[in-house]
Symmetry: C2
Subunit: 428 residues, 2 copies
């Protein structure tokens, strides 16, 4: 097989005709497949049936400290849930606030709180002329949607193989007091599956922000979401790094069990310095009396401890691994020989990131849709949904059963080929 | 027994000596009793053990519409949960948004959202010089704490036996565009147990607000929390009244199962016009992917339908009724003969409201504390904790076992007597 870029116009035209025919055939199949969102599959959820035995009519509902988890109280979470989530987040329980069912909600509320009440006594952001966040790209669409909704200006920072471009991050954070935050998914990042290197983390912790109320939003969503036993990325613990660098209050770390137990029915947590937690608690104590302690108790008793949680993640990995391997295999088989596209090869997380030839992403996603395969919208991985190169596509292989995933990948690679040929023909 | 007000100075002094001795005795007992907060008792919670059987490993986790409740989705709640909460709130399911574990959190977020994003397109409240809320008093401390935290000025409206003083409410709402809301607990109100009359509700629905973004915050927390089968207050349905009065968007209704199933582990809901819900949804869709649908499913399957929920409430009533009756009996026995204090006689809700002689509430609460009985802080039922008469005390009889409640009432009535005598002696 010849690389597309080396083909003559005639060869490309013949190829286009052939691929178009295949595309029409595919459309005729009436498929309905979904590679759009990072959902666990039914197989993963079924594997957790015992979770529903954790609390039963004969259970004791008292926490270890004697708190009746069926009643009000314990705003920051019961001690054993703080311990479990603390172990997951690699910080002491004292630095952990356990919330409800969604870390996204916690992050949203954290931005919202800063808008209204400021950060540990700083001017509320809504009183400022301009608030800016740094957004490593490609990144998580729902992060960008939060900052967009609050009218916060986003400044794109290119992602490299070891994390965000730290020269740029330092330039903006250390010089511009309007820069109040940066969104980070530091491990098995969404969508690239990149883990920030030790050097990147150290430079992050060593920032000298022009704004005293600058905070790193460290969304460690995939901290224990490995695909392999023997190939696992390591991420330095950022609270400790920040403290060592003299910036103990500069980071909020977020985490949840959404992809450990159940999306929407897990527990979420934030880790931060005690100063940050005290301030946050002083505001949240008016917002709610407390979160769902019965669900905290379910999680603690289901896993017993962090070892139990890590063992549980191996079962998820066993289901997810073949799906990721299939994606990489099919992309490699279909696209490497023709020299089209680039993609990441993550060893954890929920996504594979695909770079189509510039100007082709929207077209590929639209074509896939025509043929019955839903992908994350092209551009979604950029603020305001604007991918300047129209190149990035997020592949989410976790949800469909593997047979459907295979079908979807056939369509995807076909559409990538056809769009690429058409693109080459434009300038041929 | 003689009324205190008819006693001579000498009689009062002798009485003071006697009561002081009793108070010192009481202090010596080292009691630790709590009548402070509206918590269900362990007996009520134990009665719900079967709730923990509702979902088990062999359950089906699909909603009636085929949604897998273990996975992401359904921002407004699963259809059957909207139906159940709609029945509870006396509105169609289409007007219901089901949230997480706390209606207080929903109310907080509703105020917060209005601060940042305005109301259905109005100017965000944080951009206005002044925002005011009307606060019927005495009322619910956590409502007042929300408006206080957002810097919203509160204007006290006296409560009458049939609800807030509507002449005053109309005067403020219809003339002042800075008045953006009113806090209402319209049924078995906190703390008085008053239910708004039909006339009050009609006048409320017929308001002609000077502000287009004025909203009634109708916290129907105790809608099915009756104490008796044969004595139940009736409250008109406010969404319908507002619609009939040409104000379909003027009200948000809030509700939860916190005191139906479990405080902190129930489900909360809001009912509003479709226009309001659409706007709210457009904001919340960025805040979270969805609430805990498994807990929604637990509730729906546990109760089956609203009839099931109402039947369940009879079991709560059976536990609570003797406690309320004991409170009223002891107050009547101890205080009616001496002509001290006034109190409400609610047939539902979670509280009895006590009016001490002016200037005595703080003293009584402090004395009770000395003797080992914790009461809601005096003043807590007023914005900024300022009861101008220093008179109102909220009695929360639900949590302690009935023997402890009896002991606490002995202390309480003793402290009321002693404080009243001391007060009379000041001017004797």
């Amino acid at each position: 097989m010849k690389a597309y870029k080396d083909m003559t116009k005639e060869e490309l035209m013949a190829l286009k005709e052939e691929l178009t025919k295949m595309f029409e055939d595919a459309k005729g199949k009436g498929l309905k497949l979904n590679m759009a969102r990072g959902l666990p599959s039914a197989e993963q959820l079924d594997m957790e049936a015992d979770f529903f035995n954790t609390l039963n009519p004969s259970s004791q509902f008292k926490s270890e400290a004697g708190i009746d988890c069926r009643n009000y109280g314990e705003l920051v979470g019961i001690a054993e849930a703080r311990k479990l989530m603390g172990d997951m987040m690699e910080v002491p329980a004292d630095n952990v606030f356990v919330f409800g069912n969604s870390s996204l909600n916690v992050m949203y509320d954290t931005v919202c709180r800063s808008m209204i009440h400021g950060v540990c006594g700083s001017t509320p952001w809504c009183k400022l002329d301009k608030v800016k966040f740094l957004t490593p790209v490609p990144g998580y669409d729902r992060h960008f949607a939060i900052t967009e909704q609050f009218g916060i200006e986003m400044i794109n920072i290119p992602m490299h193989a070891d994390g965000p471009d730290m020269d740029l991050v330092e330039k903006y954070v250390n010089s511009d007091p309007a820069v109040k935050g940066i969104w980070c998914v530091p491990k098995y990042s969404n969508p690239q599956g990149i883990t920030y290197s030790e050097e990147v983390c150290k430079r992050m912790a060593g920032l000298k922000p022009a704004a005293e109320d600058f905070r790193i939003f460290w969304d460690n969503a995939y901290t224990i979401h490995h695909l392999y036993e023997d190939k696992q990325d390591q991420l330095p613990e950022i609270l400790e790094l920040c403290e060592k660098a003299g910036n103990p209050d500069m980071v909020y770390k977020f985490c949840s069990t959404s992809k450990v137990t159940f999306p929407g029915s897990g527990i979420a947590a934030m880790a931060a310095s005690k100063k940050n937690l005290e301030f946050i608690k002083s505001i949240i104590t008016i917002q709610t009396i407390g979160h769902d302690k019965l669900n905290q108790l379910r999680h603690v008793r289901y896993f017993k401890d962090f070892e139990g949680m890590k063992n549980h993640m191996k079962k998820h990995a066993a289901i997810l691994r073949p799906k990721f391997e299939l994606v990489l295999k099919r992309l490699d088989e279909e696209l490497t020989p023709i020299g089209v596209g680039e993609w990441t090869k993550p060893v954890g997380g929920y996504f594979v990131s695909f770079q189509a030839p510039n100007g082709c992403a929207k077209k590929i996603v639209a074509m896939c849709k025509e043929a019955g395969v839903t992908l994350t919208g092209a551009g979604a991985t950029y603020p305001y949904k604007k991918d300047p190169d129209d190149s990035n596509i997020r592949i989410a292989p976790t949800f469909p059963p593997i047979e459907e995933l295979a079908q979807a990948l056939d369509i995807f690679t076909l559409c990538v080929k056809l769009a690429s040929v058409e693109k080459l023909l434009e300038t041929a």
